[in-house]
């Protein structure tokens, strides 16, 4: 549970951080709070649009393709792969932070490289999925409505473009976060590799980048539930 604090510790009398974390890390937390509300607003507006519609496309039909699997019906398999990649890269990020705690530069570099590979793999999967949906005729303002289309509402009625608009906007915004996370991680890798953190005597920057990276994973958990499961 929460850190044990000696009973007579006077946190607010000056000279130490009342929250016992570094300033930059605390501010990263508050930035992530604001970002959480941005994502929350997106996802809740998606929910509102969906609640105001009589029927909605069935994710088991829309998301049922896998690269090189042709027309095989594999619902949710590809997105589970993407989820696995992102969780895995979160783990390697924690291991990089852990290596930073013991100022172990070699391990930090190794785990950062794995994290970056995970991020790039996720982005590639997303690029494939977007491309696939685009070629099926779904895009901002477009959704295939012909008979037999996988995008028809679950009850067989005609879908409207809310589905594709929200899907591409929200996964796009999330993908943009993943992309900037990869860039941040690459900068962290270069700084770690060139010994900047060793000269500073601490690897706290890795922790802040790590917080951002885990947040990206956290948001994906919600995007996954809202678009692929509900």
């Amino acid at each position: 549970m929460a850190q044990a604090i000696p009973a007579n510790q006077k946190w607010w009398s000056g000279g130490r951080s009342p929250f016992n974390v570094e300033y930059g890390k605390l501010m990263m937390w508050y930035f992530l709070m604001s970002d959480a509300f941005t994502f929350g607003a997106f996802l809740i507006s998606y929910g509102t649009a969906r609640f105001s519609t009589n029927s909605w496309p069935d994710p088991n039909h829309v998301f049922s393709s896998f690269p090189f699997a042709g027309h095989a019906h594999l619902p949710l398999v590809f997105v589970s792969l993407m989820t696995f990649i992102l969780i895995m890269s979160s783990v390697t990020m924690v291991l990089a932070v852990g290596a930073g705690h013991s100022n172990d530069r070699k391990s930090v570099v190794k785990w950062m490289i794995w994290t970056i590979i995970g991020g790039i793999a996720f982005l590639s999967c997303q690029a494939w999925e977007w491309n696939h949906l685009y070629h099926q005729g779904a895009w901002w303002g477009q959704i295939p409505t012909e008979a037999g289309s996988a995008f028809l509402n679950a009850d067989g009625t005609k879908p409207n473009t809310n589905f594709s608009n929200f899907f591409f906007t929200i996964t796009g915004f999330h993908g943009f976060h993943v992309f900037s996370g990869v860039i941040i991680n690459i900068i962290m890798l270069i700084m770690a590799y060139t010994g900047v953190f060793d000269r500073r005597g601490h690897y706290l920057m890795i922790e802040k980048a790590g917080l951002y990276w885990h947040f990206v994973d956290l948001v994906w958990v919600f995007v996954f539930t809202c678009f692929y499961l509900f």
């Binding site: 951080s17 508050y30 649009a49 969780i87 783990v91 990020m93 005609k158 956290l218």
Partner: protein, 158 residues
């Protein structure tokens, strides 16, 4: 930050803890880093995701009338995953309680946020079904092949 001035007299006193000893303001009493907890969290997250997928792929499609129940299940499982990511990966569980509260209390706004807006969406649907004939008609109009008995397109999934 005060550490620029206070360095000279507090730096040595604050050395016993290891790792990030850059500022005397921050005293890490914690943990040599626990990688077992990280892997345990990983397996929990993976397990929950697998349960969600199995339910989503194989169980839920057979019980359409229970969709609401499955959605509640997904929400509980999603909340559990979010908890483990925030508590363990982002390490929030191990911070000072006051700091946890500055994150957790504002997050409670989401309860209002979700309730109010989903309720609003639902009410909008009911109003439109009641007063907007066009909207109500769309509810029952199925999409049928344009030329009567045209065969399904290759690649169409049913």
């Amino acid at each position: 930050m005060a550490h620029t001035d206070s360095h000279t007299h507090t730096e040595h006193a604050s050395q016993p803890y290891h790792g990030n000893t850059h500022s005397p303001e921050v005293t890490h009493h914690e943990h040599s880093f626990d990688s077992r907890a990280i892997w345990r969290t990983f397996w929990i997250l993976l397990g929950i995701t697998c349960v969600e997928l199995i339910v989503g792929m194989f169980i839920a499609p057979n019980f359409h009338s229970l969709k609401l129940m499955f959605n509640i299940l997904y929400m509980i499982l999603t909340g559990a995953k979010a908890f483990y990511i925030i508590a363990e990966f982002m390490h929030l569980k191990h911070e000072i309680k006051n700091m946890i509260m500055t994150i957790a209390v504002p997050a409670l706004l989401f309860i209002w946020f979700l309730t109010a807006f989903l309720w609003d969406g639902n009410s909008f649907k009911n109003l439109r079904n009641r007063f907007d004939r066009n909207h109500d008609a769309k509810r029952t109009e199925k999409v049928t092949p344009a030329h009567g008995g045209e065969a399904q397109k290759p690649g169409a999934i049913h």
